[in-house]
Structures are given as structure tokens and as C-alpha cells.
């Protein structure tokens, strides 16, 4: 993932107590926290983070160009969510039924 960070990984605060930290934060975890969690102190510059809630980001991810998403290491466009399987099922089923009707109609003629 390219994320604009070139610093080395920070030292673990607990030293060797943590044998193997499984994973660093991915972009979804980071966005979820820095936009929705953490202390809110109103600075002098007022920005409305509510305008860019996670929901908006999800939508933006969907319409973001492949190149951009690839830069961020997110490859959701390769695999559609589960629902698309159902849609494919239905399309196939419809096609089968349509053929059946056609064959029935032609045998009745």
C-alpha cells in the first residue's frame, strides 16, 4: 500500500511483550478512527467532518477511479459483494425460463 508514509514502523510500546503484532492499521481502520473517534476539540479553523462521514466515503470509494483506489491499496472492484452472486443467479434463471417459454410456445404452434 502506498500511503505517503516513509517513516520506519514505530517501536512497539510494549517491547517484546507482544510477540508478533498481527497487522498494522489498514486504510479503512484508520479512516474509521480519525474521522469518527478521537477527541473533538473545536479549533480556530472550523471544518464539518460530518460532511464526510464514512457513508460518504464508501460512496466515494465506489465512484473513485480504479487507479486511485489501486494507489490506496484497495481492490474491492475486483470482487463484488455477495449480492452480485444473487443477481447473477436471477439473470441465469430468467434466461432459462425465457428459453422454456419460447420452446413451449413453439411446440404449441
Amino acid at each position: 500500500m502506498t500511503n505517503g508514509m516513509s517513516r520506519p514502523a514505530p517501536a512497539r510500546p510494549y517491547g517484546s511483550a507482544v510477540a508478533a503484532a498481527p497487522q498494522p492499521a489498514n486504510i479503512a481502520d484508520v479512516l474509521e478512527r480519525v474521522l469518527d473517534k478521537g477527541i473533538v476539540i473545536a479549533g480556530d479553523i472550523r471544518v464539518n467532518l460530518l460532511d464526510i462521514e464514512l457513508l460518504t466515503i464508501k460512496i466515494r470509494l465506489l465512484i473513485a477511479s480504479v487507479d486511485r483506489a489501486q494507489e490506496m491499496g484497495i481492490d474491492w472492484w475486483r470482487r463484488d459483494p455477495l449480492l452480485s452472486d444473487d443477481q447473477n443467479d436471477l439473470i441465469e434463471e430468467n434466461e432459462r425460463l425465457r428459453q422454456k417459454i419460447e420452446s413451449l410456445e413453439s411446440s404449441n404452434e
Binding site: N3, G4, M5, R7, P10, A11, R12, P13, Y14, A17, V18, A19, A21, P22, Q23, P24, A25, I27, A28, D29, V30, L31, E32, R33, V34, L35, D36, K37, G38, I39, V40, I41, A42, G43, D44, I45, R46, V47, L49, D51, I52, L54, I57, K58, R60, L61, L62, A64, R68, E71, M72, I74, D75, W76, R78, R79, P81, L82, D89, E93
Partner: protein, 259 residues
């Protein structure tokens, strides 16, 4: 001549310039401490108002690439600081017009900030996620159902759809049980836990839904037991993918009431 603007990452205590040596933040600027009378230290770096003024921020926050990079830098600075001293993370894009303004804000919320720091000192946030089991292959269900009805018939189709639906219901129930059990188990090794909203499949890039997205506040001394508990849950629920990650700054366990 006005003071340079400060981007505020988080709040700490007993942190001097030497402790932050080598940490670079937004725009590659060195990260520095701003100490207040109330014994709190703001972790800041100088930013240009051309990039972090109101109009520029409104515009930039809509730019996904900018947002992702800024979020990663914000997180990286907090991770670097957390490796050296307890730090209460702030939400993204807190900008003050100068150090005196930072101090005034720390002093105003001093009581809440001190209690947040008391709560997270010696502890870190871990994420535990559970993904549902992959769905049973459709062919198996069709095979089981078709023995009762000739292939291609309407009855066979209905039987197949019913088998699919009931298999999905069972899978959903099982997924909820696994998620609750994992949450209960990791809570036993945490000082505090939160159930965050499961992340959307489009955001995670996973083909199976996330059923648990837990944030756990884990003490340094409890960390080995916490990790061992997650490993043992992985063994117990081999079909459900269980991910954990950390230690992170304690974003999900700090808050300040509006003064």
C-alpha cells in the same frame, strides 16, 4: 505578524521536545510539544493556512487521495508518539491559529483531558474483527434438493431456492453466535471494549460480511493473554476468519464533553 498555525494531533503529558525528536508530520514538518499551564502537552506541527485554512480544508477533505494520505500521517504521528508516551488522539483536522490558542484549548478542557489520559495510560487499542463463514457452495444445496424432484422442474427450482434461503438463515445465526462469543472472550482480557459498526464489504474488499468490529483497550500486562485468547478463538472457530491488529493509539476510548 501572526503566529504560524498549528495542526494538533493529540494530547499528552510530561513530553518535551527531546521526546519528539525525529518525528515528522504533515508537510514533513517536525512535530513539537506545546505545554499548557494545566500540565497538558499538545502534540503539534506548523501548517500553512493556504493548505489548512477553512476553504482549503473544505475542498481537500472531499479529495479522497488527500484525505487518505492526511489520515495516514495523522495516525503515523500518533503511533510514533504513543511508542514514547501516553497520548490521547484527536480527530482529524484540528487546526489552531498559534500556540497560545492551543494552550487555551487544553486549559479549557483540562479536567476531561487528564481523565482521558489517566484511562489510557499503559494501555493501547486493539481491533478484533470476525468475518462470517463462507456460504455453502450452491451446487451442494442443489444436489441435496434435487433428489426429491426432477431436474429443471419448477419444484426443483423452489426446493433449491428454499435450501439456499434456509442455509443462509442458519449461517447468519451461527455468525451472530460466533461474534458474540468472540466479543465476550476478548472483553475478559480488556479494560474496556466497544462494538464499532461492522465495516461495509466494499470498504474491506472482502466477499463475506464482517460480523464483529470490536475495539479493545488492553493493558500492557494483559496483552500476551489477550493475544493468546484471540489465537485460541481462531482455533475454536476455524471456519470464521478472525483478525486482530494493534497496538494503536486509543482513539475509541477518549472523549471530551463540550466545555
Amino acid at each position: 505578524m501572526s503566529e504560524p498555525a498549528c495542526y494538533l494531533y493529540g494530547i499528552s503529558r510530561h513530553v518535551g521536545a527531546a521526546d519528539l525528536d525525529g518525528i515528522r508530520g504533515l508537510g514533513g514538518e517536525p512535530v513539537r510539544p506545546v505545554e499548557s499551564d494545566s500540565g497538558l502537552v499538545g502534540i503539534v506541527n506548523t501548517v500553512d493556512l493556504d493548505d489548512f485554512g477553512e476553504e482549503a480544508l473544505e475542498r481537500s477533505l472531499q479529495d479522497l487521495t488527500w484525505l487518505a494520505e492526511t489520515a495516514q500521517t495523522h495516525h503515523a504521528v500518533l503511533c510514533d508518539v504513543a511508542a514514547r508516551a501516553p497520548v490521547a488522539p484527536l480527530r482529524l483536522a484540528t487546526v489552531c491559529l498559534g500556540e497560545s490558542s492551543v494552550r487555551a484549548r487544553l486549559d479549557r478542557s483540562a479536567a476531561d483531558l487528564h481523565s482521558s489520559l489517566d484511562l489510557i495510560s499503559g494501555r493501547a487499542e486493539w481491533s478484533v474483527k470476525v468475518f462470517a463463514e463462507p456460504p455453502a457452495p450452491v451446487e451442494d444445496l442443489a444436489g441435496a434438493a434435487s433428489s426429491a424432484a426432477p431436474a429443471g422442474s419448477g419444484r426443483e427450482y423452489l426446493a433449491r431456492r428454499q435450501a439456499q434461503v434456509s442455509s443462509r438463515h442458519q449461517a447468519a445465526e451461527r455468525a451472530a453466535t460466533v461474534a458474540n462469543d468472540v466479543y465476550a472472550e476478548v472483553s475478559r482480557h480488556s479494560s474496556d471494549t466497544r462494538r464499532l459498526a461492522p465495516q461495509d464489504a466494499r470498504l474491506t474488499g472482502e466477499t463475506v460480511p464482517m460480523t464483529l468490529n470490536a475495539a479493545c483497550l488492553v493493558g500492557a500486562e494483559d496483552t500476551p493473554a489477550f493475544c493468546a485468547a484471540v489465537e485460541s478463538l481462531r482455533g475454536r472457530y476455524e471456519q470464521s476468519r478472525i483478525e486482530y491488529a494493534g497496538p494503536w493509539p486509543a482513539y475509541s476510548f477518549v472523549s471530551v464533553g463540550e466545555p
